[in-house]
Every structure is written in C-alpha cells, then in structure tokens.
C-alpha cells in the first residue's frame, strides 16, 4: 500500500466530497454530479447499496472506482446473472503513479469475491485505463468495432483541421470553422421538429423523448434470443437506464397496432464528454423492414456531424444496413485503442481457468450480444 493512503467503501457521509471530486471527470457542475451519483449508484435497481471504493489521504478523497450492477442473461432458456461493471476510475492528478489504482482494485476484488461475484467487466475503459486494466489481470475480449457516419461538413473539417491551423490567414478562424463543422441541433429540438413535420416519410415512425418500458420489454420478449450473453432489457431496466442525467435520448418507435421496433439515439450534455457525437445505443426490430425504416428515420432526422454505433456482435443483416447508408470503420483519428470488452475473474485462483457463464466464453466476442446502451460512457 502506498504511504498514508486508506481504501474504504463509500457511504453517504462522502456524498458531497465525491460530487466535488468528480468535477475532474463527470462534469464541472455539482448539481449534475449529484443527480448522476444518485441515478447511477443509489437508484441502480440491481445493487442494494452503492459499490464505490475510495482512496483517501489525510481525510481527503484522492481516488475512486465505482461498480455498477446489471442483470445479464445467457443460454436458452435464459439464466440470469448479476454482473458488475467497473466504472468511474479517477485518481487525483497529484496522486497518480503511486499505485493507487492497483490498491483500489485489489480491495474491490476482495470485496466482490466475498459478495459472491465471479467476474468483473469493463465496457468503458479509455486508452490509459485500458492498458492499466490489462496490467491488473483484466483480459480483452476484443473491440466493439465502432462504426462512424460523418456529415460531409464534419468529415471535411476532420480531414483538414491540422492544415487549417497551420495556414497563414485561416488559423485565426480555426475555432469558428470547428464550431461550424460541429454544429448540430439537439435531440429535443429534432424530436419536436420530427413530430411537427407533415412530410414525415413513414407514418409508422414516432419520435419521443421518453422510453416506453412496458412495450420495449414486450418487444424484446417477442424477438428470439439466441442464447448469447446480453443485458436483461426488461421494464425495470428501460425505466432506469434512460434516466441518466448526463445524457439525453431520442426514441424512434415503429408501431403498427403494437410496437414492432425502436431505435435509441443518445447525446451527451456535459462539457467533459464528446458533445459532437450522437450514438445509436440500442436498435431492435421484428423485421428487416422495420430495422431499415428506423435507421433511415434516424439519419434523415438531421445530418449529424458524427453518428456512432458498435457493430461487433450486431449480426450481418444489421451491419449490411449500416454499410448501405454509409457507416464505416474508424481510424486512429477517432481513437488510439477502440472501445474494448474487458473481463477479469474476481478471485486470483480463477485466473488460469476458462472464464465462462453457462458455457459461453467471456473472452469470445461471438458469445456476446453487445449494445452501446450497456456502456455508461459512450
């Protein structure tokens, strides 16, 4: 243990301090951070109490790691498991490179093992955390293969921004050009204009700002589950997941007597996250026609500067639809390491065994059914 540090479990006594501490990572706004902490850890339907580990020195928080619960289902018929995902790693800049991440994680592994957890997952690791996690015994199951659709304006800007910054006259306007390229309407504005439009191409498609948990739950039950590992997306999940105060969501519903499909768009609202990007975090439909209609409705809403989706486990038919409308793989300009599935056995004595749930291998992407909505950081 590095000198003078203690690792403790979160309790409400630390709420205000965590809210302030996370101004480095969540948002600079205390009120928003308070809502986020409350939603993500207190209201999480799958864990009775927040699983947050804090490193303290001289009575001050200098490091944090949170664990968020979710139900995973696997197999046919499906069996349900409670899983925990490692989130919100933050070490105070003045306390980095002192082995704190390692100590926080060691403490969390011991605690999770005593609670009966076998595995811990990470779906959100940014490059720095990613390599650090591998050094802590996490293993990579592979990339989520993000695919990108750019507006022509934003694509041009991304290809030329370095040149613009170096040009004699134009560098003065680089900031304005960036704003022009990144400009977009917000999802609430797009939702209103979609519903006002008399020229909507498809009368089956509705845009709303709120989820329909019961109908979405019913739809998921009607679509066959192939047994791969996935989140249990039921009424409880849908009711909680989209209350995330750090993001806004737009729901496109394809209805005919009942819900036949939905597509969920997400935008980030805090300065510390990518506000240009809009993500397709979930997309389901009872037929190719429904899926195709929803996708076209999403891209016709607005020429989003940057629209993202993960395709690693989507299946060839959906991937083909995405390719047809212009989605393509990212390059190093988007990220050095793509978002990656990380898994670790909680107990050290399981490190050399094969990691699996109900016979499905946790390090084989073919055994997973991932959606961006599973990740809290997209």
């Amino acid at each position: 243990m590095p000198k003078d540090y203690e690792i403790i479990r979160y309790s409400d006594d630390f709420k205000q301090e965590v809210i302030e501490f996370q101004k480095h990572q969540w948002s600079p706004h205390a009120e928003l951070n308070a809502s986020f902490l409350d939603w993500k850890y207190q209201q999480n339907p799958y864990l009775k109490e927040p699983l947050i580990y804090l490193a303290r020195q001289d009575g001050k928080i200098v490091g944090m790691r949170g664990m968020v619960g979710a139900n995973w289902e696997v197999g046919t018929p499906a069996r349900t498991y409670l899983g925990v995902c490692a989130e919100d790693l933050l070490i105070d800049p003045a306390h980095r490179n002192r082995g704190l991440m390692k100590e926080i994680m060691r403490t969390s592994f011991v605690d999770l093992a005593t609670k009966g957890h076998e595995y811990i997952y990470s779906l959100t690791a940014l490059p720095v955390t990613l390599i650090g996690s591998l050094a802590m015994g996490f293993r990579s199951g592979g990339s989520f293969h993000p695919q990108f659709l750019y507006s022509r304006r934003y694509d041009w800007f991304m290809k030329n921004y370095r040149t613009i910054g170096e040009m004699k006259f134009f560098w003065r306007f680089a900031g304005k050009i960036a704003k022009w390229a990144e400009r977009r309407e917000t999802l609430p504005d797009l939702c209103r204009s979609h519903e006002r439009s008399r020229w909507r191409r498809n009368p089956n498609i509705l845009a709303e700002m709120t989820p329909r948990p019961e109908e979405m739950d019913d739809l998921i039950r009607r679509i066959r589950h192939d047994g791969r590992i996935r989140h249990v997306r039921d009424r409880e999940y849908f009711s909680w997941r989209f209350l995330n105060p750090m993001a806004r969501y737009l729901f496109l519903y394809w209805t005919e007597n009942r819900l036949e499909g939905y597509l969920v768009l997400q935008e980030n609202i805090t300065e510390l996250r990518n506000k240009v990007q809009v993500s397709i975090v979930d997309w389901e439909g009872t037929s190719q026609r429904v899926l195709s209609d929803l996708l076209h409705a999403a891209i016709e809403l607005y020429p989003f500067p940057l629209l993202i989706i993960w395709i690693a486990t989507l299946g060839e038919e959906k991937v083909e639809l995405l390719r047809k409308v212009g989605f393509r793989s990212g390059t190093e300009r988007e990220f050095h390491y793509p978002p990656t599935l990380l898994v670790r056995a909680v107990r050290d004595d399981m490190m050399d065994t094969e990691w699996s749930l109900a016979g499905r291998r946790l390090l084989d992407m073919a055994d997973w059914d991932f959606r961006m909505v599973y990740s809290m950081y997209v």
Binding site: P2, R96, N97, R98, P127, V128, I131, A135, R139, H336
Partner: protein, 80 residues
C-alpha cells in the same frame, strides 16, 4: 542513445519512487512502481519501436512487461 537507455529514461519519468534505481530485473508493474499513465506511455513507446499496434486480446503486461529485461525482450520478439 541505446534502446535500453531510452526505455530507462521513459520509466524514470513515470515511476512512483524517484529515488529507486532501475535495474534490468526491478519489478515495475507487480510492485506498483508504474501506474496507468506510465503504462500507457510505455505501450505507445513499444508501438513506436516495433512499428506495430499492440494486440490487446493477447497482451498481458504483468507477464510480458514487468521488468526492463522483459520489455526489451518483448520489443525484440515483436521486431523479430
């Protein structure tokens, strides 16, 4: 500057204990001497030296990069 000297300079910048003298066998990761940012910088350095992206699905930094000797051996193998 030799490859080893370059590596030692990089690790000196990121190690926990500035007084620690790094030998070829000093445990770096298992001892907690280098943290996530230093590890990330090490990963970038290795990619530069091997002129190849790391394969994260097979990478085990604790086994393959725990000492200077391990890291130099890893680079040599990847250059192979």
């Amino acid at each position: 500057m030799s490859l080893r000297e370059e590596l030692v300079n990089l690790l000196d910048d990121g190690k926990v204990d500035p007084e620690l003298y790094l030998t070829d066998d000093t445990p770096l990761i298992s001892s907690g001497q280098i943290d996530s940012l230093a590890l990330f910088n090490l990963a970038l350095w290795i990619e530069k030296e091997t002129n190849a992206m790391l394969d994260l699905t097979t990478l085990d930094p604790l086994k393959e990069w725990d000492t200077i000797a391990d890291i130099l051996d890893f680079v040599e193998r990847k250059r192979g």
